[in-house]
């Protein structure tokens, strides 16, 4: 009896997460395929490089997840990332204490942008998509103030330590016998961005999801009227969601600054990140209608998108054809959702 009910539970959970499971499967296939064909496949160096390229997009995708769960869309995530990136290029240097303050300033700036978005949406009662279209322009404006032209000064050690494996952190900052300690050996190869990614998911996202506010976000996306009737604090949850989204986007921008050792108020790049974040969210199994999905799925979505480009490099696909193939893969991925249409036998179910 007990086992049977455990099986049903598992079945129910699986059926509720088909999108996420599919994304994980796609990622696994693509990534293993990539490593099999890479001359130095399954090596730390490759893993480091890959995780470096993933972190910012994964963060922006997580940022996008929250408004999407609410049933909205945030067109400013790329802009927030860019703004924090330009800010970081000014403040991530000096003494360790100064750098720490700089780090806090960057995180706070990202959260503040999200908070403003949330307030405009909640108190201005504007649709998120249009409100963030506007605030995005404002944030890009601020970014241009901070960095009219690309450049900046980011602490080299920090940048080096954060964008390599754990060994380099230990070596740079001299703990665990400069990374040579025997106990440290087993984990020394893990890329730092990967650790950061997991930490962000486990320490920020997971608790949020299991908090009352987090669940209110899901409730709002599922049915705002019903959530209100249930006596939930809708305004607070919305603002919290946007703020957390801003924080994630800010972390992405911060990392971008570490990765490039500079800041750049690059408008097309901001736009590209925003659009890719939407794609990652969808690939990760989150419904654009709200209420269904997780930020973990969006991380997987970002991984899928990036892995596609990794494969291009391996196969030396004509760079001129790459955007085309990328486009088709994206289109094909989202068209998978159309399979649902074939299964629906009651046309009315398509409209909900």
């Amino acid at each position: 009896m007990k086992t049977r009910s455990a099986m049903t539970d598992l079945k129910i959970r699986a059926s509720q997460n088909v999108g996420l499971l599919t994304a994980i499967a796609i990622f696994a296939v693509f990534y293993i395929f990539y490593n099999l064909n890479h001359p130095r496949g399954f090596s730390t160096a490759v893993l480091i490089q890959n995780s470096n390229e993933v972190y910012a997009l994964a963060m922006v995708a997580m940022a996008q997840t929250l408004p999407v769960l609410l049933g909205g869309l945030d067109l400013s995530v790329g802009a927030v990332m860019t703004l924090v990136n330009t800010l970081a290029s000014h403040v991530l240097n000096g003494t360790p204490f100064e750098m720490f303050l700089g780090f806090l300033a960057c995180v706070a700036a990202g959260a503040a942008c999200g908070f403003v978005n949330g307030c405009v949406v909640v108190y201005g009662r504007l649709q998120p998509i249009i409100a963030t279209l506007a605030t995005g322009a404002v944030y890009i404006g601020f970014a241009l103030f901070l960095r009219p032209s690309p450049g900046g000064d980011v602490d080299g050690d920090l940048s080096w330590a954060m964008t390599n494996d754990l060994f380099e952190i230990a070596a740079t900052y001299g703990f665990a016998e400069n990374g040579e300690a025997a106990w440290f050996k087993t984990i020394a190869w893990i890329p730092t961005p990967l650790v950061l990614l997991i930490l962000t998911a486990v320490l920020i996202w997971m608790p949020f999801r299991r908090s009352v506010t987090g669940r209110t976000v899901y409730a709002i996306g599922s049915g705002e009227g019903a959530a209100y009737m249930s006596g939930l604090n809708i305004d607070r949850a919305k603002i919290a969601a946007f703020t957390l989204g801003g924080l994630f986007a800010g972390l992405g921008g911060l990392y971008l600054a570490l990765q490039t050792s500079s800041g750049n108020a690059d408008i097309p790049q901001a736009g590209a990140y925003t659009l890719n974040s939407i794609a990652a969210v969808v690939v990760g199994g989150t419904s654009l209608l709200g209420g269904v999905g997780t930020a973990v799925g969006s991380i997987i979505g970002a991984l899928v998108l990036r892995t596609i480009s990794f494969n291009f490099r391996i196969f030396e696909i004509d760079p001129l054809l790459q955007p085309l193939i990328e486009g088709f893969v994206l289109l094909a991925a989202v068209s998978l959702g159309a399979l649902r249409v074939l299964k629906v036998k009651n046309t009315l179910e398509l409209f909900r």
Partner: protein, 327 residues
């Protein structure tokens, strides 16, 4: 609440329906922008450049391209959808039109737009993929096609004379581009307020299930709206190529967000079902004038972005806030 509003509007002696309120406010804001800009030029140059018919016509001419894109975008937004494939539809139409050249240039440009629109419509209406994501993918594919086609550089081919005339020519002192926009506008007005398709678009935007059950051919209407939107982008791209005599990479990038902004500033609800075409025209004029006044003031790009964003938010806040869930 609503009775309070109605007495307030009656005080001005005109009845402003909720439908028209954004249009009136946006028009007022256009005048404010003109006044501020004129004040600035009077103070700095001693002339009222902004108010000269030549300048205004020139601005409207530049605005025509955005106006045509926004007209198409409005159809899609009224459905409750969105078309993010505009940037590369514009660019692809321009590139293909210039590449083909000759008398076929314009028809080819329009056909490219129409084709993209049909694909978008198919994906949204038949495959039921959210427009936000499907048109995004189509945009990526179009970009890929054009990069492969041009090798990533601006194509060397030039716009035909007819394209250039349509974009920069003048008839009786009025730029032809404005006339093209006017023709599109007449078509839009008839479509939205007098045709069965137009009514169907509003119905679908309001409640697709109810429209479907009422026997509206919802899928065909959605495809038609996307097709028209694609065609509008194609037309804008063709004209734009004529305006700058050639096509280039990323020429459509500057049209997506301003078009959405213009439509929404004009009072069309971003979730569909509500909005008047006149509002979109006013919204386009507002966006164009705002940009030009900011550039006259020689504000750096940073300041322009900030002001641009603030104006959109401000306008929408003034329109009255959306309903609370409890009504």
């Amino acid at each position: 609440m609503s009775s309070l509003e109605s007495t307030e509007t009656k005080r001005f002696g005109i009845s402003i329906t909720p439908e028209n309120k954004p249009i009136v406010i946006a028009s007022g804001f256009v005048l404010v922008i003109l006044a501020i800009g004129t004040g600035y030029t009077l103070a700095t140059q001693g002339t009222a450049t902004l108010l000269s018919p030549t300048y205004l016509l020139q601005q409207l001419q530049v605005g025509s391209f955005l106006g045509i894109v926004a007209a198409g975008m409005m159809l899609v937004i009224l459905l409750g959808h969105i078309d993010l494939s505009v940037p590369w539809t514009v660019a692809a139409s321009a590139m293909m039109a210039t590449a083909v050249g000759g008398p076929a240039a314009i028809p080819v440009g329009l056909t490219v737009g129409l084709t993209v629109g049909l694909v978008n419509g198919f994906g949204v209406a038949y495959l039921r993929i959210p427009s936000m994501i499907f048109t995004l993918g189509v945009n990526a594919v179009m970009r890929g096609l054009m990069v492969a086609h041009t090798g990533g550089f601006a194509p060397q081919t030039a716009a035909t004379d007819l394209m250039q005339w349509l974009a920069v020519g003048k008839v009786l002192g009025i730029p032809v581009a404005i006339l093209v926009w006017a023709a599109v506008s007449v078509g839009m007005t008839v479509l939205l307020s007098r045709s069965a398709v137009g009514k169907s678009i509003y119905m679908i935007g309001n409640r697709e299930a109810a429209a479907y059950l009422a026997g509206i051919p919802t899928r065909r209407v959605i495809v038609a709206a996307f097709a028209l939107c694609g065609m509008a982008s194609g037309l804008a791209g063709t004209l734009l190529a004529g305006y700058s005599t050639k096509a280039y990479q990323g020429m459509g990038d500057a049209y997506l967000l301003p078009a959405i902004a213009a439509v929404v500033i004009g009072g069309t609800h971003i979730l569909g079902g509500r909005g008047r075409y006149l509002g979109t025209v006013v919204g386009v004029i507002l966006v164009v004038l705002l940009n030009s006044v900011l550039s006259i003031m020689q504000l750096p790009e940073a300041g322009r972005q900030v002001i641009y964003g603030c104006v959109i938010i401000l306008m929408l806040l003034v329109y009255g806030r959306g309903q609370k869930v409890t009504q």
